[in-house]
């Protein structure tokens, strides 16, 4: 609790310093708006309500993209993990696709899926796909040899070994992948909107830029940060709950 208090204190100090800087230096609000002005815009946006539809759209894109990417990544990880020939065949491509900047495919997706939500969801899903694929593959591959032997000794089928040993045993690694995916999903959704969104927080930033409204951009920036933190915390809580019986003292 004490450490948290320190963090909050630092935040307040930084905000105060920022406020003082803006007032004393007389810097243009176009460059750096004062936090009080940002807070006011934020408050207006939330109370009058023009921010909510955008928050909702971005959240929806993020959730859909995350779910889609995670599920497909997980399933592909399992399939590749279980079939050695397929994995050997595809591994160089998987490695290559890791380094492709997925966001750079955004314009192409707009050609394929048009402006709007679909493109953003697809980009988000693509970004979330890789951490899940890689972590699932790693997770179900690094099983203690003695546990494999136990399942052999008990004459478990391949499917039983997968479902009752490999997946539960690899869950810590898989969940670490989910945590990475959650952070990337927000980046995917916001930047996806930069490229092809009609609404949403990312699209609103572009709109605010068009109006030279830096204060609104900052406000949106705070909303995005808050959204990211909520999702990240949710992922950590889900992880703790799922791994509550795995080895203790191993939590982030």
């Amino acid at each position: 609790m004490k450490r948290r208090a320190g963090s909050w204190l630092l935040l307040i100090t930084l905000l105060a310093a920022w406020e003082v800087f803006c007032r004393v230096s007389g810097v243009s609000t176009l460059v750096i708006p004062a936090p009080s002005a940002v807070a006011e815009t934020l408050w207006d946006g939330l109370t009058v309500g023009f921010l909510w539809p955008h928050i909702w759209i971005t959240t929806l894109e993020m959730v859909l993209g995350l779910a889609l990417g995670c599920v497909i990544g997980f399933v592909c990880g399992i399939v590749l993990g279980e079939t050695d020939t397929l994995r050997e065949l595809l591994w160089p491509y998987i490695l290559a696709s890791q380094v492709v900047p997925k966001l750079a495919l955004g314009p192409l997706f707009i050609v394929w899926f048009g402006f709007g939500m679909t493109s953003t969801v697809v980009i988000t899903a693509l970004i979330c796909f890789f951490p899940l694929l890689e972590n699932t593959l790693t997770g179900i591959h690094h099983i203690e040899p003695q546990k494999r032997e136990l399942f052999r000794m008990l004459r478990a089928t391949r499917m039983q070994t997968l479902l009752r040993l490999k997946i539960p045993s690899g869950l810590p690694v898989i969940m670490a992948g989910v945590r990475v995916a959650v952070v990337l999903a927000l980046v995917g959704a916001v930047v996806g909107e930069f490229i092809g969104g009609k609404s949403g927080l990312g699209a609103s930033i572009i709109a605010a830029q068009g109006m030279m409204d830096s204060t609104l951009m900052f406000a949106l920036f705070f909303v995005i940060t808050a959204l990211g933190m909520i999702f990240y915390q949710a992922a950590i809580l889900a992880e703790r709950w799922l791994l509550r019986h795995h080895i203790k003292g191993n939590q982030p």
Binding site: Q146, K147, E149, L150, M153, R155, Q160, S169, L171
Partner: protein
């Protein structure tokens, strides 16, 4: 016909044989120990006997049935407790059954009885990481016995425990095997442990059985026996055999 017959068993990973033409017999209800230094091939021999490793030559038979792959007749206890952390104790014990059929209430009762027998009555809802090392080993033994195997093979199950806990577990294991009339083959590198537990001790070195000792100490055995001259003499004999100085 012996209960367990190991006949001319050989196994090698490469050129060097790890298990080299081993013959060994265990009669029903007997408790045998296999001692030797690390790397002498004792664990490999145990895995061959369990059907986990195929012998390159020779055969393993239990009551005349040849063992070629893991079988329900054989219970195996590993070097580490090897429990699944995400399952409560009771489900860990029931794993050998639940992999093959649905669990009936009577199975749960049996698992609870077994848990009480290994001295952990009432802990069935706990998770492995809430147990001490000794308690985990006890759960592992219960899991090995849930299928009522004809023979229990154990691979240094107490090696990682402190001396006091190990002695408690040895006593409980002996009592359990006596109650269930389980035949057992127990691998260890601890001579005193082998002598305390066994009816017969096989001393292994470089893939061969160097010597076999009959342990004629009375049963049931209690901690006192560890300090008797007969016990010390047997330990010394085993030690000399390990060093290749058999009398």
């Amino acid at each position: 016909m012996s209960f367990l017959t190991i006949e001319n068993a050989c196994f090698s990973y490469g050129e060097e044989p790890v298990v080299d033409r081993i013959d060994w017999r265990i009669e029903q209800g007997e408790f045998h120990c296999l001692v030797g230094r690390s790397g002498c091939g004792k664990t490999t021999l145990l895995k061959v006997a369990a059907g986990l490793l195929p012998p390159s030559d020779g055969s393993i038979r239990i009551q005349g049935t040849q063992i070629r792959e893991p079988s329900a007749l054989v219970g195996f206890v590993f070097q580490t407790p090897n429990l699944l952390e995400w399952l409560p104790v009771l489900d860990n014990i029931l794993l050998p059954l639940s992999l093959h059929r649905t669990i009936a209430p009577s199975d749960r009762d049996r698992a609870k009885d077994l848990l009480a027998l290994v001295g952990l009555g009432g802990l069935d809802g706990r998770y492995p990481n809430e147990l001490s090392g000794g308690q985990q080993s006890r759960v592992a033994i219960a899991r090995g016995l849930i299928t009522d195997p004809l023979i229990l093979l154990m691979d240094e199950p107490f090696a990682a425990l402190d001396a006091m806990t190990r002695e408690d577990l040895q006593d409980d294991l002996l009592a359990l095997c006596a109650t269930k009339k389980t035949t057992a083959l127990f691998v260890t590198h601890d001579i005193a442990e082998a002598v305390y537990l066994a009816d017969r001790v096989a001393v292994m070195e470089a893939g061969r059985i160097r010597d076999a000792l009959a342990v004629a100490l009375p049963r049931p055995r209690a901690a006192d026996i560890r300090y008797s001259p007969e016990f010390s003499a047997l330990c010394r004999e085993a030690r000399l055999a390990m060093d290749g100085l058999a009398a």
